[in-house]
């Protein structure tokens, strides 16, 4: 049972001052084993805050990140799943699922986590699953102002993943989940 937090596109301080209070109260250290962040934090303070939640932090670079040394893409293996991470502004058309599927096949991962559109999506295709955790602060995107703060928590348990979607709608935290499993095991590296 491994808990992985996926979030991104916070745009602190340019477009939002901080995470919503209700999110912050839930995100306490000691519960989460890994954090994967799609990018656009944008400043070091956010990086430090995320580090306090969990020491295992993975970030890819968004176009507004002040830290230039984050990688463009990242892959990691957690349990039986290979996860891929990319901010997503590099994949055009933005948010296009077929193009993202191409990236997923390139990275050869089961779950691809990308952002940039500030809209939560979870999509399945033959190559695997694409998850967009949305914007954790509800910052406006290049496309729309209408953004609900959201992030994703994945519970990886063997071959099964339960994706918990946390959204702040009208000031209340709503939690949904998505269940899926993969049919083959990953070969050990």
């Amino acid at each position: 049972m491994v808990l992985v937090l996926a979030l991104g596109d916070l745009h602190i301080p340019h477009r939002a001052p901080d995470l919503p209070a209700k999110f912050k109260s839930m995100l306490v250290p000691g519960k989460i084993q890994h954090i994967i962040c799609t990018g656009n934090l944008c400043i070091k303070e956010v990086h430090d805050y995320l580090k306090t939640l969990c020491p295992d932090l993975h970030i890819t670079r968004g176009e507004y990140d002040e830290e230039t040394r984050y990688p463009e893409t990242k892959t990691l293996t957690i349990g039986q799943f290979k996860l891929g991470l990319c901010h997503g502004h590099q994949v055009i058309p933005w948010g296009d699922l077929d193009s993202l599927a191409m990236l997923q096949r390139q990275l050869d991962v089961d779950i691809l986590v990308t952002g940039h559109t500030h809209q939560f999506t979870a999509y399945k295709h033959e190559g695997g699953v694409v998850i967009n955790p949305g914007s954790a602060t509800g910052a406006y995107s290049s496309i729309t102002y209408d953004v609900n703060p959201s992030f994703v928590l994945m519970d990886i348990d063997g071959l099964r993943v339960v994706v918990y979607v946390y959204e702040l709608i009208d000031g209340e935290v709503k939690v949904d989940k998505i269940d899926f499993k993969k049919t083959t095991t990953t070969t050990a590296h």
């Binding site: 399945k124 295709h125 519970d155 979607v165 998505i178 269940d179 899926f180």
Partner: protein, 441 residues
Amino acid sequence: MMVKKRVPDWLNSSLWSSAPPPDDERLLRYASKYADADRDEPPAPVAPVAAAAPPPVVAREEPAGAARAGNDEENGSAEGPSGEEFARQVQLLAELSKKVVNVRELRRIASPGIPDSTGVRPTVWKLLLGYLPPDRGLWPSELVKKRSQYKNLKSEVLIHPSEITRRLDKSTSCDNDESKFQRRGILKRSEITHGEHPLSLGKSSIWNQFFQDAEIIEQIDRDVKRTHPDMDFFSGDSAYAKSNQDALRNILMLFAKLNPGIRYVQGMNEILAPLFFVFRNDPDGENAAAAEADTFFCFVELLSGLRDNFCQQLDNSVVGIRSTIARLSQLLKEHDEELWRHLEVTTKVNPQFYAFRWITLLLTQEFSFTDILRIWDTLLSDPEGPQETLLRICCAMLILVRRRLLAGDFTANLKLLQHYPSINISHLLYVANKLRSKPSG
């Protein structure tokens, strides 16, 4: 190195009732027997010495249908049993082979000690702790019942929240196994059951409780890894040690979860260790395999009498550890006022400095493992109960080193009592027995 103690004259006085004064030769044999058995392994299959072979074989064949005695030849110790011990062995096996075991009688026989070679220690302990009923006919059904009970408890209590939510999902009618095989498309979002999600801060949330228990689990894990690091049974990288550690962990975690009032306190692992060791080394393969379940129930039983020692709030109460230590002090004063005065008044060695560990951990830290098993034979079988017997043994421990204590100052005495020297256990128990306030039956 065994210290060969000469029995003080006052103990040899004819005023004392039961057993005959121990003769030096028997003491010598005990001393060397325990020196040999002091390897911390279960009685290793030693080639049976010619002297040992005939008497035990006769003993085993005698009681018809003796439960577990048959396959013990290789467990013979390096020395043959002495006359008195052999007689005890015979009585023990005889009692255990009866249709209905007389537990009072069993206590009487087991009290001076259970000979290692018989391999009946696990069974006797289970009877003494009330795990096995006296009627032997009920044993198979009882064991099956208890063991499956343990299995159910484990699967209900020791699962982590992912597993729980999975089960909850299965029970609610949302059965989307078929829809999961969609090839392409937006993944369907579903409602969370009972508002349960990993970051939940609700008091009744299983996730929240899980994270709160995580601290205790960490503590248990640390203590289990530190239990008897010198013994291959408990420590090391072998799969055997790891599986034993897992069992200890499971038992302690289950106990902590089922007893929220007392949870886990450091030291419980030390009390658990001898129990598990004995049951796991049962010559009967089936019993050995089910050791974890059996140990759990016996541990609960044993701890029920000792809980008050572990409860911090009760420390200063009438049942708490402080008052128990005071009783030890009183006992010493009754039997050996000179020593008492010298220890507590002259050298100001507060009994809390040494007796706390002796009492709460049932002497598991003071002696070698084999000696502990021997002492526990007496602790568990004495009709006065473990706590009372323990106090007498502690008092005997003090009396046996009285000469050194009387000659020592605060530092020397404290050092001596906190690192108690190894002594002849039979003698210790013999002295402890003499300290009874009323004559034993």
